[in-house]
Symmetry: C2
Subunit: 155 residues, 2 copies
């Protein structure tokens, strides 16, 4: 769909979008809050999701659990309005800077999916590495919002 | 190495680190600049790299091109000092907030790997999607710094 990658110099220093999709046809995507810089979520896109995101200015991902294009916010209402899209040096990952207003991006109910912090320094017991919660208030109740939907988290 | 994942509720809402590594034993990692919130790079860690990063407070990744643990900055000198590590809801991606001083994180020489912006809106020709450069000055000359090292970018 996109321009073919046939020259490393062009991929790195060229002006054309030549994204690299992995063996499953996906590219990793990180969405940050355009106001705070906080990472909201890490997901994946296929080519169609990337194209839709560029054209509609609303984030579309590939849901690996549901195996389909996922217009973020379709169920919860928490659409991600895209302020900017960037791609990295070797064009194998994407950065979305998004506006979610006062909403949430995490299916567990928190604003950011990254609500737990791993303590730094010597690890006493790697089997009992206790994290610290950095968000203490859920923005919404996932039981109400996702009633009947399967949980995307897999073991 | 880490605590076993055997309960989705614990993975999502628990305090213990139970990271999920993919079929290649890797977990995706995003590093942001702790001052600006800009994404610097997207990489991967295996369990050992994650443990080393926690313990040394310096970012260690898994180099997929070199197939070994990669202490970021070992060659270039641009070490990433870790200010905070977070993990997401289903514990399958990691966020590093790092200090790189006035250094760079991109092997092409720019401060951030994400130096090109994809224009939003209707796409005229997906084969010729022209991006805009958001950084115009390289922090270092990769030809000098990485003399003799293979380029990690793959087609």
């Amino acid at each position: 769909m996109f321009k073919r990658r046939d020259n490393i110099k062009e991929v790195e220093e060229g002006k054309y979008l030549e994204p690299k999709f992995d063996e499953n046809g996906l590219i990793p995507v990180v969405a940050t809050d355009f106001k705070t810089g906080d990472i909201l979520m890490h997901g994946y896109m296929n080519g169609e999701a990337l194209k839709k995101t560029i054209e509609t200015k609303e984030a579309h991902y590939w849901s690996r659990s549901r195996k389909k294009i996922w217009h973020k916010g379709q169920i919860s209402g928490f659409v991600q309005t895209v302020k900017e899209i960037r791609i990295d040096d070797d064009q194998d990952s994407v950065w979305l800077s998004v506006d979610i207003g006062n909403g949430a991006s995490c299916h567990v109910g928190y604003r950011s999916c990254f609500y737990r912090s791993i303590p730094l320094g010597n690890i006493k017991n790697v089997q009992e590495l206790e994290m610290e919660f950095k968000e203490n208030k859920k923005i919404f109740d996932p039981k109400k919002v996702y009633k009947g939907e399967p949980n995307p988290t897999k073991l």
